[in-house]
């Protein structure tokens, strides 16, 4: 008797079954695509929120290895995408990814802040770790900035390769210094010149023609004519000599 009624009610209850909405699939998986770049081809993984992972193709054994690493790290299966995410190829060519959307939900607010500031560094420019720390109002967190950049899940697009040490040394890179150098070279940054200035004893670099003093990482310091470039060990010496602080790199120190 209960069975009989169950069947009748069950019939109506079964009408309450609905098809899962199509977007459910993309809530639980990420998609991957291979995108060619001028320096490095990359594997890109993305969700409906945005790009969540970038790995230079030369650093993994292939798509399967990339997918396996991704799944383990992000806890989501990774499926091939029907097409590349929009704008990634263009961003790789131009070095500007400010119009892309990123899915950085797995990061801490500090890490997101660091990457947000780093994203704004234009191609061909360098910034010291301390500059990034200053821009997020954590001037003492220089080391933490370095760590956050080292864990950047979307390198190349968020250009952590443009962040180097305040003293002009190129600093660490998750995929090795050689790749950092290649990426910077391709943007027209003369890494040798920067390192040369530092080896010459410069902590700051002045341009005698414009009377502006910069960090060695600053584009203006590199753009100065060789004969106008003046090394300074102390900022005070440059200021005493009539130099103004560069408004771009805003050097600090004594």
């Amino acid at each position: 008797m209960i069975e009989y009624e169950d069947r009748l009610l069950a019939g109506i209850l079964s009408q309450l079954t609905e098809a899962a909405p199509p977007q459910l699939t993309d809530r639980i998986v990420a998609r991957w695509a291979y995108v060619e770049g001028p320096v490095e081809d990359v594997y890109v993984a993305f969700t409906t929120v945005g790009i969540s992972s970038v790995v230079p193709a030369s650093t993994v054994g292939g798509a399967e290895e990339f997918a396996a690493d991704f799944s383990r790290r992000f806890g989501k299966p990774l499926l091939p995408a029907a097409r590349q995410p929009e704008g990634v190829a263009r961003a790789l060519r131009s070095g500007r990814a400010t119009d892309l959307r990123f899915d950085l939900g797995a990061l801490t607010p500090f890490e997101r802040a660091v990457l947000g500031v780093t994203l704004q560094i234009p191609p061909g420019e360098l910034r010291p770790y301390s500059w990034v720390a200053g821009r997020i109002d954590r001037p003492r967190a220089v080391r933490a900035v370095g760590t956050a950049l080292g864990h950047n899940p979307v390198p190349v697009l968020i250009p952590c390769h443009r962040v180097i040490r305040s003293d002009g040394h190129i600093g660490q890179y998750g995929f090795g210094q050689a790749m950092k150098r290649r990426l910077l070279d391709a943007e027209g940054v003369d890494v040798d010149l920067v390192e040369g200035m530092v080896r010459g004893g410069a902590v700051y670099v002045g341009d005698a023609s414009t009377q502006v003093v910069c960090m060695p990482t600053c584009r203006r310091a590199r753009d100065a004519a060789t004969e106008d470039r003046r090394p300074f060990r102390r900022l005070g010496d440059a200021l005493a000599g009539g130099y103004r602080l560069c408004p771009e790199c805003r050097p600090v120190g004594r």
Binding site: M1, I2, E5, D6, L8, L9, A10, I12, L13, S14, Q15, L16, T17, E18, A19, A20, P21, Q23, L24, T25, R27, I28, V29, E64, A67, A68, S71, R72, G75, K76, P77, L78, L79
Partner: protein, 215 residues
């Protein structure tokens, strides 16, 4: 030097530093997990989403709930070995995850007033191409009323009815999911059905004396 690790001296010498521990269980490669999971997803997504919809009452919440349940399922699956994968009862397993996530979400939200109005309940109308237009209209009106009545049921009755008739689980598996004896599941279901019956407008439904009075 030859050392026999199985001998007492060898064990003493070597155990603290190089004891390999229990032999590692071979886990399937991620690619296999992924394809197993995607099969599972395609097979179970409608059922799980529907169950989520009838537990939460709102399509948006149901999507969140189903997505979270599937993601948790995937993370668990990644640590399963072959044996566990082969003996898995996907429907009951996923339902258990769904109910757990739902309970946790409700607990977290319990301080907010939970106002459920029938206006908020209806999913954007989905059309079953197999049903005739009239049948569809009639069926969905009745079903809609049942859907909102389901939300009025006490949690355990609602879970039991949803798992039985939407997720299509046998009583024994519902008992596992809910962590109670089968008899208790049956009583949750019949109490739940007793409340739903007036809406279903069964000809003799109201006269059933053995179904227990509504609470």
């Amino acid at each position: 030097m030859h050392t026999d690790a199985s001998g007492p001296a060898g064990s003493l010498l070597r155990a603290p530093t190089v004891d390999p521990g229990p032999a590692p269980v071979a886990l399937p490669p991620i690619a296999e997990i992924d394809s197993a999971f995607m099969c599972l997803f395609v097979e179970q997504r409608d059922r799980l989403y529907s169950a989520a919809l009838r537990l939460t009452g709102r399509p948006h919440d149901a999507e969140d709930l189903a997505a979270e349940a599937f993601l948790r399922a995937y993370r668990s699956l990644c640590s399963f070995d072959y044996e566990r994968l082969e003996t898995l009862q996907p429907r009951a397993w996923l339902s258990a995850i769904l109910v757990n996530v739902w309970r946790n979400q409700r607990r977290a939200a319990s301080r907010r007033p939970a106002i459920v109005s029938s206006a908020a309940i209806d999913a954007p109308e989905t059309v079953d191409p197999k049903a005739g237009v009239e049948e569809q209209a009639e069926g969905s009106a009745e079903a809609r009323a049942l859907g909102s009545m389901l939300l009025e049921l006490p949690d355990r009755q609602r879970v039991a009815v949803v798992l039985r008739y939407i997720a299509d689980l046998p009583i024994a598996e519902i008992a596992d999911v809910m962590g109670c004896p089968s008899g208790t599941v049956k009583s949750h279901i019949s109490r739940g059905l007793a409340r739903l019956r007036p809406i279903a407008e069964l000809p003799n439904g109201v006269e059933r004396a053995d179904e227990g009075s509504p609470r």
